[in-house]
Amino acid sequence: MLLIRCPYCEEERPELEFRHAGEAHVARSSEISDISDEAFEQFFFIRSNPKGIVFERWRHLNGCARFFNAARDTVSDRFLTTYKAGEPKPDVAGLLK
């Protein structure tokens, strides 16, 4: 069972309190009604699913109930960092040092 740091509660809590919520930094256009089919496909259907560092959303469901973002290594399952929703993507190279 992983320990995950909730950036709102500012502490590590067991995985049981959290729910995974898909890839992070998939921005919904404020003019979504007008975007092209290709742009909608990218937004709705296409996910990066890499082997290695992923940016993903989690929800501290059985805690503060906030959604937040995390950078995790899918090979080791290690969380590099977690950060609040809306904050920019952290610098991966810096985290790996």
Binding site: L3, I35, D37, F40, F67, R78
Partner: protein
């Protein structure tokens, strides 16, 4: 004497404390402190099981958790039967009843042993090849027969009556293994004051010190030192000692799973839990898991009586049991000599020591010789005599030559010691091969842990203790943020120790590639050296493939005794070095864990709770039949005496439209959307326009996913400018809340809105029918119920029976209707008051079945029944609910996808059978041409279908390709007993003008 192999004066058990037990129905006596294995051996019983595949007779290989052979069934009563219990681990208690497994009709004479003669057909991977033809026979003939003939114990047939406990624990240092190394590490860590947990799978700490007679520490015998150390630890408040506790799995971030066997060793378990699952999170882990002795791989090395030298020594020094009267020893290292010496000193005859090494030397070898034990260097045991028990060993010079048969009734073997790196490997650490000592040792660590002692390849006792004391101190100091070189003030004086280094890997002489003998590598899975060579010959190059093809090291055994031998034989056959071939991955659990421990409290109500509404007991008292809707119990229908379901539902449906009915709608999801931007938020989450909805009015809302498909629906009341009372489907309550929170927090965080789930705060009583207003009027205060003041689709706040209410004028039946929301605590009282009024008008209580029929008569859809996640508002005929002028809502772009705009989409329509008496089956397919040969072109399916007493005929809805353009067409529903003709039409079957809604 009842225990002829018990040696007076040997071991630590008390002769007076006898314990009775049975094995295969026969009564025996053992001693308190025995394992089932030591007690059986004390009685001279070696034959205890039949092997997995070949049904070969098997005895005890070991004295511990690595036991692959002696698996038995322990039963306390009819429901408490545990298969595959290692007899070497099961502690004896008075009245214990054990049975052997995988034999028929008896252990001594087993018909299944024919498999041994058929073994040329049963070699590695046989089931992939032999039984592939004819294909159909696999399922009916081959598989059931193979499963019956092969296998271990039988799973219990009844539910487990025992209960299990669970603990979450946190500590600074977790020490796994309570031998010399583990005790030392725990002592050093505990002395710094940090929280320490020390666990060991045995009933007492000490590990190999329990039988290693040559060890002396601080002037004490090894085991006495262990007891002293244990006492010291037990007296410290910061230490938790767990015996009979196996660390079975090492997971991410130093999360280690332990199972503690609480009552399996007790004659009367009482009310204590059977096992306790510990989920430990440790800042640092010290692995002191020791090493496991390997057997020698030679012909018929599985005969009962052939066992590991360390096992014979443990049986002698711990339990006072000699495993034979005339014992042979076959070894490739020194440690087996110690067993021979201990036995010889106890008065047991050692027939001979056969040593593969050409020139064994050293103190143990000298001591054996001086005791008069015959030592045969440079020789091998190439076979054994006996069937159900070894009767002799056949000795030959390892380069070939004359054979000599030496009578023995037990044969001790040792090919050396394999460091137990299972947990290290599970922690994702990388093992590294040490060419010098020919073993895999912990290499690169992946977590905050350290290995000490034999599992780290540290051989001597002095080195082990020094290493462990240092590691314990370093680990503890690290949790305090301090660095330490370790070992300060903790040096122990080791006066004597034994050397366990050396040994050999792979098959021994006489079992080489040029032979066809059965030399077992993996006893539990019946894998021989020949099988592994065959796997390589048949093209398996990776050790992972060899493992799966032969099953070597699989299942509960996880290769404890077999892994290194198997690897060495594969490497030799491949012509590669061992590290080039690599080690297979060790899987959790280290030893089997019961389902009971894992499932633990999560059973029945604690796993899947039942939710009951505030009015549940009223419905129960009035004879309701309930149906499960998710976790909810919902009243399905209320049969009166003599009524079946059909009659009850018909009566309920007719009564609602004639007078009125009461329905418990409490399970609907309810969410309050509050705040200055509440209307703006509703605009974004629902397809409908909300800004202009006046406070006090309601609207039917549709929620889409971003892809444009219907996700949920429900009536929404606007209580005030900044407050909406949203209802959802019963099943959708939680996910709609999650969906709303997701958008509010991440996509629309600029909106000032607060969301609150209020599903369980309000009980909901639907009062539907022409008399509904008359029924409610006398009870309601502060609300004008007239049509003019409170038209259809409006909401008012006031009180009913003196209780606050949110009163909705709305309808899911097509009749004039109300939904009375009251605080859940008052639900039943208000229901009873309304019921008393309703009875005056002949109203009924109706259940979910009548609710379904009534809504279908009106063509109202149920999301999840008439929609399936691929239905758009247009498909469902609900285009009117999509705000055409809106520039944004979730799903607005998805609705414009080409596929969603294309013609020929499946659309919701009404279906009337040409024969009005025929009721269609929900889910049935719809076709255009009933005479088309199979496979027919299916153009849709039935989603809802009922008998409607109000319409005097059957009614149905379905989705049909291009359905909206097919009104009036006749289509067909093919069924096993013929095709049913249906006419496509409007989905509104009753009161098509909708006049009754308004009274």
């Amino acid at each position: 004497m009842t225990q002829p192999f018990r040696i007076p004066g040997a071991g630590r058990l008390t002769p007076a404390k006898t314990v009775r037990f049975t094995f295969d129905g026969k009564a025996y006596t053992g001693l308190e402190g025995d394992t089932l294995a030591s007690a059986l051996l004390a009685n001279g019983v070696h034959l205890v099981g039949r092997s997995f595949k070949y049904h070969r007779p098997r005895g005890f290989l070991s004295a511990g958790a690595e036991e692959p052979n002696a698996l038995v069934e322990i039963s306390r009563d009819a429901t408490r039967k545990t298969p595959n219990v290692r007899a070497t681990v099961q502690e004896l208690y008075d009245g214990l009843a054990a049975r052997s497994q995988n034999r028929w009709p008896s252990l001594g004479f087993d018909v299944g042993a024919i498999n041994n003669l058929l073994s040329p057909f049963l070699s590695a991977g046989f089931y992939y090849k032999t039984f592939m033809w004819p294909k159909a026979a696999w399922k009916r003939l081959y598989e059931p027969n193979i499963r019956a003939a092969a296998g271990l114990g039988v799973a219990p047939g009844e539910a487990d009556p025992d209960h299990y406990a669970a603990r979450f624990a946190h500590c600074d240092v977790l020490v796994v293994g309570g031998g010399a190394a583990g005790l030392a590490a725990a002592l050093a860590a505990a002395e710094t004051g940090v929280r320490v947990i020390l666990c060991d799978e045995q009933l007492e700490f000490g590990g190999a010190l329990r039988y290693e007679s040559g060890a002396r520490i601080d002037g004490l015998g090894g085991f006495d030192w262990a007891r002293q150390a244990t006492g010291k630890l037990a007296a410290m408040d910061n230490v938790r000692l767990l015996t009979r506790t196996t660390a079975f799995g090492y997971y991410a971030q130093n999360f280690v799973g332990l199972t503690e066997r609480v009552t399996d060793h007790l004659a009367t378990p009482g009310t204590a839990p059977r096992e306790r699952l510990w989920q430990v999170r440790a800042a640092r882990v010290v692995l002191a898991t020791g090493a496991i002795e390997r057997h020698m791989v030679f012909a018929d090395n599985d005969r009962p009586g052939v066992m590991l030298a360390s096992a014979a020594r443990a049986f002698l020094n711990q339990y006072g049991v000699a495993v034979g009267r005339t014992i042979g020893v076959y070894t490739a290292n020194d440690s087996a000599y110690a067993a021979a010496i201990d036995l010889k000193k106890a008065g047991v005859d050692i027939a001979a020591i056969v040593d593969l090494r050409d020139d064994p030397s050293g103190p143990l070898v000298e001591q054996a010789r001086s005791l008069g034990i015959e030592v045969n260097p440079g020789r091998a045991v190439v076979g054994v005599g006996g069937r159900n028990r070894v009767s002799s060993m056949i000795v030959q010079p390892k380069g070939g030559g004359g054979k000599r048969t030496i009578p023995v009734d037990a044969l001790l073997v040792s090919a050396g010691w394999t460091p137990s790196v299972h947990l290290f490997s599970q922690s994702r650490g990388k093992v590294a091969f040490d060419a010098e000592s020919q073993r895999f040792l912990p290499g690169q660590y992946a977590q905050d842990c350290v290995s000490v002692g034999a599992c780290n390849g540290t051989d001597g006792l002095a080195e082990t203790l020094n290493e462990a004391f240092a590691a314990g101190e370093v680990a503890a100091k690290a949790t305090l943020g301090e660095t330490s070189a370790g070992g300060g003030g903790n040096a122990r004086k080791v006066d004597a120790s034994e050397d366990w280094a050396g040994g050999m890997l792979g098959s021994a002489p006489g079992a080489g590639a040029d032979t066809t003998v059965k030399a077992f590598v993996d006893f539990q899975n019946d894998v021989t050296a020949k099988d592994i060579r065959q796997a390589v010959r048949e093209g398996m190059r990776s050790i992972e493939h060899v493992k799966r093809f032969t099953t070597n090291g699989m299942a509960t055994d996880q290769g404890k005794t077999s892994n290194m031998h198997g690897l060495a034989i594969a490497a030799e056959t491949l012509g590669k070095e061992i590290p080039e071939v690599g080690l297979t991955t060790f899987r959790a659990p280290y030893t089997p864990v019961t389902f009971g421990a894992i499932v633990n409290h999560a059973r029945h109500e604690l796993f899947d709770p039942t939710r009951r509404t505030a009015m549940h007991s009223w419905a129960e008292a009035h004879g309701a039949v309930f149906e499960d809707v998710g976790q909810w119990k919902r009243a399905w229908y209320f049969p009166r005496p003599g009524e079946d379901m059909h009659a009850a539902v018909n009566r309920e449906c007719v009564t609602v439209r004639r007078s009125a009915g009461l329905f418990d709608a409490s399970t609907l999801g309810k969410i309050e959307v509050v705040g200055p931007d509440a209307a703006a938020f509703m605009e974004l989450l629902y397809t409908n326009p909300w800004q202009k909805l006046e406070p006090g009015r309601c609207r039917y809302g549709i929620m889409l996913r971003e892809d444009g498909f219907i996700y949920d629906d429900g009536v929404v009341g606007r209580l005030s400018a900044d407050r909406f009372h949203v209802t959802t489907t019963t099943g959708g309550a939680a996910r709609v809340m999650n969906h709303m929170e997701d958008y509010l927090q991440t996509e629309f965080p600029h909106l000032n809105v607060w969301l609150t789930s209020i599903s369980e705060q309000w009980a909901v009583i639907a009062v539907q029918g022409p008399k509904s207003r008359d029924i409610l009027a006398p009870l309601v205060e502060g609300i004008d119920l007239s049509d003019a003041a409170m038209p259809h689709m409006s909401v008012r706040e006031g009180s009913i029976c003196g209780v606050p209410t949110r009163l909705f004028r709305m309808s899911f039946t097509g009749e004039r209707g109300f939904e009375v929301n009251v605080p859940a605590d008052y639900g039943q009282a208000v229901w009873e008051a309304i019921w008393a009024e309703g009875e005056k008008y002949g109203a009924c209580a109706y259940g979910t079945e009548a609710m379904h029929v009534l809504r279908a008569e009106k063509g109202y859809i149920i999301v999840g029944q008439d929609t399936d996640g691929t239905v758009t508002p247009n498909d469902a005929g609900l285009d009117w609910a999509v705000g055409k002028k809106k520039t944004d809502f979730v799903g607005i772009r998805g609705l414009k996808r080409p596929d969603l705009l294309a013609s020929g989409r499946k659309q919701l329509v009404g279906l009337k059978t040409v024969d009005p008496k025929v009721v269609l089956e929900e889910g049935a397919q719809i076709v255009q041409d009933p005479n088309q040969p199979i496979p027919m072109t299916m153009i849709g399916h039935v989603t809802s279908s009922y008998w409607s007493e109000n319409c005097g005929r059957s009614i149905a809805m379905g989705v049909v390709a291009g359905g909206h353009g097919r009104l009036g067409e006749t289509l067909h529903v093919p069924m096993p007993d013929g095709s049913i003709a249906v006419e496509i039409g409007s989905a509104v079957f009753f009161d098509e003008m909708g006049e009754r809604l308004h009274g």
